[in-house]
């Protein structure tokens, strides 16, 4: 039995993971405060939790768009070139 076969351990890891997400957002707000931001491209990285939002949205959009293109067009059977 491996460590990850125990549901108890998996649940613990999950909790730790979600906790780390919250901590990261809080860290930013505590350490840097809510800064005055301008809605312009030049200051976009200073927007509160910008990296978190960009990371999550970027990941989801990329997966959907790429998988869509893959299924419609790019992915072929393994013997395609034979």
């Amino acid at each position: 039995m491996g460590y990850l076969d125990e549901p108890k351990n998996l649940a613990l890891l999950k909790k730790l993971f979600y906790a780390s997400l919250v901590v990261l957002i809080l860290l930013e707000l505590i350490l840097m405060g809510i800064r005055e931001t301008h809605l312009s491209l030049a200051h976009i990285a200073e927007f509160p939790a910008f990296h978190a939002i960009f990371g999550f949205v970027g990941c989801v959009v990329m997966v959907f768009v790429v998988k869509f293109l893959g299924h419609q067009w790019l992915m072929k059977e393994e013997d395609y070139y034979d």
Binding site: A42, H51, A52, V60, K67, Y80
Partner: protein, 597 residues
């Protein structure tokens, strides 16, 4: 007095001496060569040495400055790691090809003129292809030939550019070139092909996964990074490269999302990571050039480590597709740790090497007010962590346990991986070791609070996206179409064209010539009678009969004449025949003269 020799010589001479050794002696010898190489590099000083006059030009084998030294150091270090990793390999050929490859890459880095650069460039292509062929499967033989053909085309393009440049400028010197005129475009295309910039990239993802386990480790390090070096030297500040680089950074990670073959995923990530470097070349500020060079240095080590640990998986299990793998963390724990060090390094996790190099390029884009580029590079970071940091290890080491028999690889492979992992962490924790090597003074502080927290947010929320979309992201047993489709399918169309229209067309011309020849043969047996027969048949057709005969007699006579053709030409009328022939040739000549004069 110079107390060093061009680094290429050490490796190329070393390659030639390998067959003299056997067993343990050979193991010792192949490990010694990179050590000598490193000692030699440490003895090198800035300046231009080892210049030879050739015809009217100077061939320079030792142009040394800080930029070439960065690449020199990391090439030699990686050569040592790669040799250690492949110490168990029995065939001499692997080491000979590997050393020629490393040597020629070093030759490019330290050559100060375009001619010796080109020669080393070609040796690189022709030695590295053996690292693919030694896999000895049909897929790798085919992929090797495609690799060679593509690189030969790129090399010819480079050569054409060099020749034009020498004719125009009269100088072979290799320095800053910049975009200006046909020659510079041709040279740039040659360089971009080796840097795997789309649409000239497909050779990489096509060939590297078909190489041998140890071959792929060498391949991942040298060809693309040599190209980054020459781009840095010759094309820094060329704006189009900034956009191409940012595009290829995203392009590579998108393909990696779809791929199933573990080394092909890594191949696409080479394209993506080289994108950061090419982008840095395009931005062209001191910070960006430092960033590109630093990222090339860090990249060679962590990408080598990625290929070494995935190589360990293939070595141990015999499987190379994520759909066949799973649950290996129990059986290959050390490999998992090594892989994750490299995975974190490539993703730019703080305290690993990618964080201190990649972010320098991204920050350079922001400093120079290229905000779109800045966002594109961040998006590529997300994709990097998504597939190399999470997807690949999740499906190979965790995920569904398929009960595969496996264990950690032999000690020499682990040692090679260990050194690379140590360097990835060392650079991440103490970036000064890398920053001190860079071409310009570094004014960049990676470990600031906003920087570290921002990067961690980016990566952890990417992970959140992955786990929420786990169902959507399951790996599929497919291959992915890429530009190589054009020549892999295109070659079939080409072969059809050869076999069908072209072969038939050529047969027609043969048939027509045969008819002409047999007619001439028939005609020349008795030209007089042939002409008379021709005249008689025309007369019969238009007048209806031959003089003094009825129609029926005329037809019978003509058939009889044709049957008995050629009768006895020379004896009957030798003078008349000769005269007729002479007249005919004269007529032909007169007509020819009429039309041409």
């Amino acid at each position: 007095m110079i107390n060093w020799i061009p680094p290429a010589t050490i490796f190329i001479l070393g390659a030639l001496l390998i067959p003299l050794f056997k067993g343990k002696a050979r193991q010792l010898f192949v490990l010694t060569i990179p050590v000598i190489g490193l000692a030699n590099i440490l003895a090198m000083e800035s300046g231009t040495e080892w210049t030879y006059g050739y015809l009217r030009y100077d061939l320079i084998f030792g142009q040394v400055d800080k930029l070439s030294m960065v690449f020199g150091y990391v090439f030699v270090i990686m050569a040592f790691i790669g040799v250690l990793y492949s110490l168990h390999v029995k065939e001499h050929g692997h080491f000979i090809a590997g050393f020629l490859y490393v040597g020629s890459a070093l030759g490019v880095v330290f050559s100060g003129d375009l001619f010796s650069l080109f020669i080393f460039w070609e040796i690189m292509a022709f030695s590295s292809v053996f690292l693919i062929w030694f896999q000895k499967e049909k897929a790798s033989i085919d992929a090797g030939f495609r690799y060679l053909l593509v690189h030969t085309a790129g090399g010819l393009c480079l050569l054409a550019g060099i020749v034009l440049r020498v004719v125009e400028t009269g100088s072979l010197e290799f320095g800053h070139i910049g975009l200006d005129g046909l020659d510079t475009y041709l040279i740039l295309i040659g360089f971009l092909l080796n840097a795997a910039v789309p649409p000239l990239h497909a050779w990489l993802a096509d060939a590297y996964p078909e190489a041998t386990i140890v071959g792929a480790v060498f391949l991942s390090a040298f060809t693309t990074k040599t190209a980054v070096y020459v781009l840095l030297r010759a094309y820094s500040g060329t704006e189009i490269l900034m956009w191409l680089g940012a595009f290829m950074a995203i392009f590579g990670v998108c393909y990696a999302v779809l791929e199933n073959d573990i080394r092909r995923i890594l191949g696409y990530h080479i394209i993506s990571q080289v994108g950061y470097m090419v982008c840095g070349v395009g931005i062209g500020t001191y910070m960006a050039i430092n960033g590109s060079a630093a990222h090339a240095f860090a990249h060679i080590l962590y990408k080598g480590l990625l290929f070494m640990s995935t190589g360990a998986i293939i070595y141990s299990t015999g499987f190379r597709k994520l759909t066949d793998l799973g649950g290996l963390y129990k059986k290959m724990p050390i490999t998992l740790i090594m892989y994750m060090v490299a995975g974190f390094a490539i993703s730019g996790m703080p305290l690993f090497s990618g964080f201190v190099s990649k972010t320098m390029v991204i920050a350079a884009a922001e400093h120079d007010h290229h905000y779109i580029i800045f966002l594109m590079l961040m998006l590529a970071s997300i994709g990097t962590f998504l597939s190399v940091g999470i997807k690949l290890p999740y499906f190979a080491f965790f995920g569904k346990d398929r009960g595969i028999e496996a264990k950690d690889p032999p000690v020499n492979m682990l040692a090679g991986m260990g050194i690379a992992a140590f360097l990835c962490i060392l650079i991440g924790v103490y970036p000064k070791v890398l920053y001190d090597l860079l071409p310009y003074e570094v004014h960049f502080q990676p470990f600031t609070i906003p920087h570290v927290v921002g990067e961690l947010q980016l990566l952890m929320f990417t992970a959140l996206g992955f786990f929420l979309l786990l169902k959507k992201l399951h790996v599929e047993p497919t291959i992915t179409l890429d530009i190589d489709w054009t020549y892999r399918k295109g070659s079939k169309v080409f072969m059809w064209f050869i076999n069908e229209p072209l072969a038939r067309g050529s047969q027609w011309t043969v048939d027509i010539c045969l008819v002409i020849i047999s007619f001439l043969k028939w005609f020349s047996k008795n030209p007089v009678l042939a002409v008379m027969l021709f005249k008689d048949s025309l007369t019969l057709r238009f007048i209806g009969h031959l003089g003094g005969r009825t129609r029926r007699d005329s037809i019978r006579y003509l058939e009889d004449e044709k049957k008995h053709y050629p009768r006895d030409p020379v004896k009957r009328n030798p003078v008349g025949d000769s005269l007729l022939l002479a007249l005919m040739f004269m007529a032909v000549y007169v007509m020819y003269y009429l039309f041409t004069a």
